[in-house]
Protein backbone atom coordinates (compact mmCIF):
# COMPACT_ATOMS: atom_id res chain seq x y z
CA UNK A 1 0.00 0.00 0.00
CA UNK A 2 1.47 3.40 -0.94
CA UNK A 3 1.75 5.51 2.17
CA UNK A 4 3.20 8.80 0.98
CA UNK A 5 1.86 11.43 3.38
CA UNK A 6 -0.51 14.00 1.92
CA UNK A 7 0.85 17.48 2.63
CA UNK A 8 -1.40 19.69 0.51
CA UNK A 9 -4.61 18.87 2.42
CA UNK A 10 -5.81 19.53 5.96
CA UNK A 11 -8.13 17.05 7.64
CA UNK A 12 -10.79 18.84 9.70
CA UNK A 13 -12.30 16.75 12.51
CA UNK A 14 -15.10 18.16 14.69
CA UNK A 15 -15.03 16.55 18.14
CA UNK A 16 -17.57 16.44 20.90
CA UNK A 17 -16.64 14.24 23.88
CA UNK A 18 -14.54 11.85 21.79
CA UNK A 19 -11.75 11.19 24.33
CA UNK A 20 -12.17 7.40 24.16
CA UNK A 21 -11.58 7.10 20.42
CA UNK A 22 -9.81 10.23 19.19
CA UNK A 23 -6.23 9.03 19.87
CA UNK A 24 -6.69 5.95 17.67
CA UNK A 25 -8.47 7.93 14.96
CA UNK A 26 -5.73 10.59 14.90
CA UNK A 27 -2.95 7.99 14.81
CA UNK A 28 -4.65 6.50 11.78
CA UNK A 29 -5.18 9.89 10.08
CA UNK A 30 -1.57 10.95 10.65
CA UNK A 31 -0.49 7.78 8.83
CA UNK A 32 -1.54 9.48 5.57
CA UNK A 33 -2.01 13.19 6.35
CA UNK A 34 0.45 15.74 7.73
CA UNK A 35 -2.05 18.45 8.67
CA UNK A 36 -4.97 17.73 11.01
CA UNK A 37 -7.24 20.35 12.56
CA UNK A 38 -9.42 19.15 15.46
CA UNK A 39 -12.24 21.41 16.56
CA UNK A 40 -13.29 20.73 20.13
CA UNK A 41 -16.96 21.71 20.15
CA UNK A 42 -17.31 22.41 23.87
CA UNK A 43 -16.42 18.91 25.09
CA UNK A 44 -16.53 18.08 28.78
CA UNK A 45 -13.81 15.44 28.47
CA UNK A 46 -10.13 15.99 27.66
CA UNK A 47 -10.24 15.13 23.95
CA UNK A 48 -8.66 18.51 23.12
CA UNK A 49 -5.55 17.70 25.17
CA UNK A 50 -5.38 14.21 23.68
CA UNK A 51 -5.65 15.64 20.15
CA UNK A 52 -2.97 18.24 20.86
CA UNK A 53 -0.66 15.55 22.25
CA UNK A 54 -1.28 13.55 19.08
CA UNK A 55 0.08 16.45 17.03
CA UNK A 56 -3.16 17.94 15.72
CA UNK A 57 -3.92 21.66 15.53
CA UNK A 58 -6.69 22.18 18.05
CA UNK A 59 -9.31 24.94 18.02
CA UNK A 60 -11.61 24.97 21.05
CA UNK A 61 -15.13 26.35 20.96
CA UNK A 62 -15.93 27.99 24.30
CA UNK A 63 -19.42 26.42 24.14
CA UNK A 64 -21.08 23.64 22.18
CA UNK A 65 -22.08 25.27 18.88
CA UNK A 66 -23.02 22.22 16.81
CA UNK A 67 -21.18 20.08 14.29
CA UNK A 68 -21.85 22.39 11.35
CA UNK A 69 -20.39 25.36 13.23
CA UNK A 70 -17.38 23.24 14.25
CA UNK A 71 -16.77 22.24 10.64
CA UNK A 72 -16.85 25.85 9.48
CA UNK A 73 -14.46 26.86 12.28
CA UNK A 74 -12.04 24.08 11.32
CA UNK A 75 -12.24 24.94 7.63
CA UNK A 76 -11.59 28.63 8.31
CA UNK A 77 -8.67 27.82 10.62
CA UNK A 78 -7.14 25.49 8.01
CA UNK A 79 -7.50 28.04 5.20
CA UNK A 80 -6.11 30.89 7.27
CA UNK A 81 -3.27 29.15 9.08
CA UNK A 82 -2.14 26.26 6.88
CA UNK A 83 -0.64 26.25 3.42
CA UNK A 84 -2.99 23.66 1.94
CA UNK A 85 -4.94 23.40 -1.30
CA UNK A 86 -7.62 21.03 0.00
CA UNK A 87 -9.70 20.60 3.13
CA UNK A 88 -11.00 17.15 4.10
CA UNK A 89 -13.98 16.86 6.44
CA UNK A 90 -13.75 13.75 8.59
CA UNK A 91 -15.85 12.36 11.44
CA UNK A 92 -14.25 11.82 14.84
CA UNK A 93 -15.92 8.49 15.57
CA UNK A 94 -13.70 6.44 13.27
CA UNK A 95 -16.42 5.55 10.75
CA UNK A 96 -14.38 6.84 7.80
CA UNK A 97 -11.37 5.24 6.16
CA UNK A 98 -8.18 7.32 6.01
CA UNK A 99 -7.09 5.67 2.77
CA UNK A 100 -10.46 6.60 1.23
CA UNK A 101 -9.79 10.22 2.24
CA UNK A 102 -6.32 10.18 0.66
CA UNK A 103 -7.74 8.62 -2.52
CA UNK A 104 -10.38 11.36 -2.65
CA UNK A 105 -7.72 14.10 -2.45
CA UNK A 106 -5.88 12.33 -5.25
CA UNK A 107 -9.11 12.26 -7.30
CA UNK A 108 -9.60 15.99 -6.66
CA UNK A 109 -6.05 16.68 -7.90
CA UNK A 110 -6.28 14.56 -11.05
CA UNK A 111 -9.87 15.42 -12.04
CA UNK A 112 -9.68 19.10 -11.11
CA UNK A 113 -13.14 19.15 -9.50
CA UNK A 114 -13.78 21.55 -6.62
CA UNK A 115 -15.55 19.03 -4.39
CA UNK A 116 -15.22 15.27 -3.95
CA UNK A 117 -18.00 13.61 -1.97
CA UNK A 118 -17.71 10.22 -0.31
CA UNK A 119 -20.48 7.77 -1.10
CA UNK A 120 -21.09 4.69 0.99
CA UNK A 121 -23.56 3.40 -1.58
CA UNK A 122 -20.90 3.36 -4.31
CA UNK A 123 -18.63 1.69 -1.76
CA UNK A 124 -19.57 -0.32 1.28
CA UNK A 125 -21.52 0.38 4.45
CA UNK A 126 -20.40 -2.14 7.02
CA UNK A 127 -22.74 -3.00 9.87
CA UNK A 128 -25.53 -0.70 8.64
CA UNK A 129 -29.05 -1.46 9.87
CA UNK A 130 -31.97 -1.86 7.48
CA UNK A 131 -33.85 1.16 8.80
CA UNK A 132 -30.77 3.38 8.57
CA UNK A 133 -30.27 2.29 4.98
CA UNK A 134 -33.92 3.10 4.16
CA UNK A 135 -33.70 6.59 5.71
CA UNK A 136 -30.44 7.35 3.88
CA UNK A 137 -31.90 6.16 0.57
CA UNK A 138 -34.89 8.46 1.09
CA UNK A 139 -32.52 11.32 1.92
CA UNK A 140 -30.68 10.71 -1.36
CA UNK A 141 -33.92 10.90 -3.34
CA UNK A 142 -34.90 14.06 -1.48
CA UNK A 143 -31.50 15.67 -2.13
CA UNK A 144 -31.54 14.76 -5.81
CA UNK A 145 -34.97 16.24 -6.36
CA UNK A 146 -34.39 19.44 -4.36
CA UNK A 147 -30.82 20.29 -5.38
CA UNK A 148 -30.58 18.60 -8.78
CA UNK A 149 -27.24 17.05 -7.76
CA UNK A 150 -26.58 13.57 -9.16
CA UNK A 151 -25.39 12.12 -5.88
CA UNK A 152 -25.74 8.60 -4.50
CA UNK A 153 -25.25 9.52 -0.82
CA UNK A 154 -26.63 12.57 0.96
CA UNK A 155 -25.29 12.49 4.50
CA UNK A 156 -21.70 11.40 4.24
CA UNK A 157 -19.26 13.24 6.50
CA UNK A 158 -16.24 12.48 4.32
CA UNK A 159 -15.68 15.23 1.73
CA UNK A 160 -12.80 16.98 0.01
CA UNK A 161 -13.16 20.70 -0.72
CA UNK A 162 -10.72 22.64 -2.85
CA UNK A 163 -9.57 25.90 -1.27
CA UNK A 164 -11.75 28.12 -3.49
CA UNK A 165 -14.86 26.07 -2.66
CA UNK A 166 -14.05 25.69 1.04
CA UNK A 167 -13.66 29.45 1.26
CA UNK A 168 -17.35 29.88 0.40
CA UNK A 169 -18.74 27.40 2.90
CA UNK A 170 -20.88 29.17 5.47
CA UNK A 171 -22.95 26.82 7.63
CA UNK A 172 -25.90 28.26 9.49
CA UNK A 173 -28.21 25.33 10.15
CA UNK A 174 -28.16 23.79 13.58
CA UNK A 175 -28.09 20.12 14.43
CA UNK A 176 -27.07 17.77 11.66
CA UNK A 177 -28.66 19.74 8.81
CA UNK A 178 -25.27 21.05 7.70
CA UNK A 179 -24.64 17.97 5.53
CA UNK A 180 -27.61 18.91 3.36
CA UNK A 181 -26.62 22.58 3.62
CA UNK A 182 -23.20 21.82 2.11
CA UNK A 183 -24.93 20.03 -0.78
CA UNK A 184 -27.22 23.03 -1.40
CA UNK A 185 -24.16 25.32 -1.40
CA UNK A 186 -22.53 23.05 -4.01
CA UNK A 187 -25.71 23.21 -6.09
CA UNK A 188 -26.36 26.94 -5.78
CA UNK A 189 -22.74 28.00 -6.39
CA UNK A 190 -22.40 25.51 -9.21
CA UNK A 191 -19.24 23.87 -7.84
CA UNK A 192 -17.84 21.03 -9.94
CA UNK A 193 -18.03 17.79 -7.99
CA UNK A 194 -17.39 14.08 -8.18
CA UNK A 195 -18.26 11.14 -5.98
CA UNK A 196 -15.86 8.54 -4.69
CA UNK A 197 -16.78 5.15 -3.19
CA UNK A 198 -15.95 4.95 0.51
CA UNK A 199 -16.37 2.37 3.22
CA UNK A 200 -18.26 3.38 6.34
CA UNK A 201 -17.70 1.18 9.38
CA UNK A 202 -20.69 1.36 11.67
CA UNK A 203 -19.58 0.51 15.17
CA UNK A 204 -21.62 0.57 18.38
CA UNK A 205 -19.76 3.77 19.21
CA UNK A 206 -20.59 5.52 15.94
CA UNK A 207 -24.22 4.39 16.08
CA UNK A 208 -24.54 5.71 19.65
CA UNK A 209 -22.91 9.02 18.70
CA UNK A 210 -24.86 9.27 15.46
CA UNK A 211 -28.23 10.83 14.91
CA UNK A 212 -31.61 9.21 15.29
CA UNK A 213 -33.38 8.42 12.06
CA UNK A 214 -36.40 10.61 12.87
CA UNK A 215 -34.07 13.62 12.87
CA UNK A 216 -34.45 13.48 9.08
CA UNK A 217 -37.77 15.32 9.56
CA UNK A 218 -36.05 18.13 11.49
CA UNK A 219 -33.52 18.43 8.69
CA UNK A 220 -36.29 18.72 6.09
CA UNK A 221 -37.95 21.51 8.12
CA UNK A 222 -34.63 23.37 8.46
CA UNK A 223 -33.95 23.07 4.75
CA UNK A 224 -37.43 24.22 3.73
CA UNK A 225 -37.45 27.34 5.93
CA UNK A 226 -33.88 28.12 4.93
CA UNK A 227 -34.64 27.78 1.22
CA UNK A 228 -37.85 29.83 1.39
CA UNK A 229 -36.08 32.57 3.32
CA UNK A 230 -33.21 32.58 0.84
CA UNK A 231 -35.62 32.83 -2.06
CA UNK A 232 -37.71 35.57 -0.46
Amino acid sequence: MPTTPVTDAAVVIPMHNEATVIADVLADVHRRFTHVVCVDDGSRDDCAAIARAAGAHVVRHPQNLGQGAALETGIRHALARLDVDYVVTFDADGQHGVDDAADMVELARTSGVQVVLGSRFLGAAEGITGSRRAVLRAAVRFTRSTTGLEVTDAHNGLRVLRRDAADQVRLRLHGMSHASEILSIIASRGFSYAEHPVTISYSDYSMAKGQRSYNALNIIFDLMVNRLRAAA
Binding site: V39, H57, V58, V59, R60, H61, P62, Q63, L65, G66, A69, E72, T73, R76, H77, A80, R81, R172, H174, V225, L228, R229, A232
Partner: protein, 119 residues
Protein backbone atom coordinates in the same frame (compact mmCIF):
# COMPACT_ATOMS: atom_id res chain seq x y z
CA UNK B 1 -68.21 35.35 8.03
CA UNK B 2 -66.05 38.47 8.18
CA UNK B 3 -64.08 36.84 10.99
CA UNK B 4 -63.10 33.93 8.73
CA UNK B 5 -61.56 36.30 6.20
CA UNK B 6 -59.77 38.22 8.95
CA UNK B 7 -58.38 35.07 10.61
CA UNK B 8 -57.25 33.45 7.35
CA UNK B 9 -55.58 36.72 6.34
CA UNK B 10 -53.82 36.90 9.71
CA UNK B 11 -52.61 33.28 9.46
CA UNK B 12 -51.35 33.88 5.92
CA UNK B 13 -49.55 36.99 7.14
CA UNK B 14 -47.93 34.90 9.88
CA UNK B 15 -46.61 32.46 7.26
CA UNK B 16 -45.22 35.37 5.22
CA UNK B 17 -43.47 36.78 8.28
CA UNK B 18 -41.93 33.33 8.98
CA UNK B 19 -40.54 33.15 5.45
CA UNK B 20 -39.45 36.71 4.81
CA UNK B 21 -39.52 38.49 8.14
CA UNK B 22 -36.77 41.09 8.24
CA UNK B 23 -36.22 43.64 10.92
CA UNK B 24 -36.93 46.91 9.20
CA UNK B 25 -37.96 50.31 10.48
CA UNK B 26 -41.43 49.78 8.99
CA UNK B 27 -41.85 46.48 10.86
CA UNK B 28 -40.84 48.19 14.08
CA UNK B 29 -43.36 50.97 13.47
CA UNK B 30 -46.17 48.45 12.76
CA UNK B 31 -45.27 46.49 15.90
CA UNK B 32 -45.28 49.58 18.10
CA UNK B 33 -48.55 50.86 16.61
CA UNK B 34 -50.19 47.46 17.25
CA UNK B 35 -48.93 47.47 20.81
CA UNK B 36 -50.41 50.91 21.47
CA UNK B 37 -53.67 49.89 19.77
CA UNK B 38 -53.83 46.73 21.92
CA UNK B 39 -53.39 48.77 25.09
CA UNK B 40 -56.06 51.29 24.03
CA UNK B 41 -58.47 48.51 23.06
CA UNK B 42 -57.81 46.81 26.39
CA UNK B 43 -58.68 49.96 28.32
CA UNK B 44 -61.91 50.38 26.33
CA UNK B 45 -62.81 46.70 26.81
CA UNK B 46 -62.31 47.00 30.56
CA UNK B 47 -64.28 50.24 30.93
CA UNK B 48 -67.10 49.34 28.53
CA UNK B 49 -67.22 45.49 28.34
CA UNK B 50 -70.26 45.50 26.04
CA UNK B 51 -68.22 46.99 23.16
CA UNK B 52 -66.33 43.67 22.84
CA UNK B 53 -69.56 41.78 22.24
CA UNK B 54 -70.75 44.49 19.83
CA UNK B 55 -67.52 44.25 17.81
CA UNK B 56 -67.72 40.44 17.92
CA UNK B 57 -71.22 40.41 16.49
CA UNK B 58 -70.17 42.97 13.87
CA UNK B 59 -67.57 40.52 12.46
CA UNK B 60 -69.82 37.47 12.87
CA UNK B 61 -68.68 35.99 16.18
CA UNK B 62 -71.31 35.14 18.80
CA UNK B 63 -69.62 36.15 22.04
CA UNK B 64 -67.03 38.78 22.84
CA UNK B 65 -65.03 36.19 24.78
CA UNK B 66 -64.65 34.10 21.62
CA UNK B 67 -63.35 37.09 19.67
CA UNK B 68 -60.81 37.81 22.41
CA UNK B 69 -59.68 34.16 22.27
CA UNK B 70 -59.24 34.28 18.48
CA UNK B 71 -57.21 37.47 18.71
CA UNK B 72 -55.10 35.95 21.48
CA UNK B 73 -54.27 32.90 19.37
CA UNK B 74 -53.26 35.01 16.38
CA UNK B 75 -51.19 37.36 18.53
CA UNK B 76 -49.47 34.40 20.18
CA UNK B 77 -48.57 33.00 16.76
CA UNK B 78 -47.04 36.29 15.63
CA UNK B 79 -45.15 36.65 18.89
CA UNK B 80 -43.78 33.09 18.64
CA UNK B 81 -42.63 33.55 15.05
CA UNK B 82 -41.09 36.91 15.88
CA UNK B 83 -39.17 35.42 18.80
CA UNK B 84 -38.11 32.40 16.73
CA UNK B 85 -36.64 34.66 14.04
CA UNK B 86 -35.02 36.89 16.63
CA UNK B 87 -33.47 33.91 18.43
CA UNK B 88 -32.14 32.42 15.18
CA UNK B 89 -30.49 35.71 14.35
CA UNK B 90 -28.99 35.96 17.85
CA UNK B 91 -27.76 32.36 17.58
CA UNK B 92 -25.97 33.13 14.30
CA UNK B 93 -24.26 36.11 15.89
CA UNK B 94 -23.35 34.12 18.98
CA UNK B 95 -21.82 31.31 16.90
CA UNK B 96 -19.74 33.80 14.90
CA UNK B 97 -18.61 35.55 18.07
CA UNK B 98 -17.60 32.29 19.77
CA UNK B 99 -15.86 31.14 16.58
CA UNK B 100 -13.80 34.33 16.33
CA UNK B 101 -12.75 33.82 19.94
CA UNK B 102 -11.82 30.17 19.30
CA UNK B 103 -9.86 31.02 16.14
CA UNK B 104 -8.06 33.85 17.90
CA UNK B 105 -7.09 31.63 20.84
CA UNK B 106 -5.75 29.02 18.44
CA UNK B 107 -3.68 31.61 16.59
CA UNK B 108 -0.17 31.66 18.13
CA UNK B 109 0.95 34.60 15.99
CA UNK B 110 -1.87 36.78 17.27
CA UNK B 111 -0.80 36.01 20.86
CA UNK B 112 2.77 36.98 20.09
CA UNK B 113 1.51 40.19 18.48
CA UNK B 114 -0.67 40.97 21.50
CA UNK B 115 2.28 40.51 23.86
CA UNK B 116 4.51 42.65 21.64
CA UNK B 117 1.98 45.45 21.71
CA UNK B 118 1.68 45.27 25.50
CA UNK B 119 5.44 45.59 26.12
Amino acid sequence: MIIKILLIAALAAAAVVLVRGRRTALNLLVRRAMMLAAIAAGVVAVLVPDTVTDVAQLVGVGRGTDLVLYLLVVTFLFTTIGLYLRLSEMHDRYVELARRLALHEADEDAHRQDRAELT
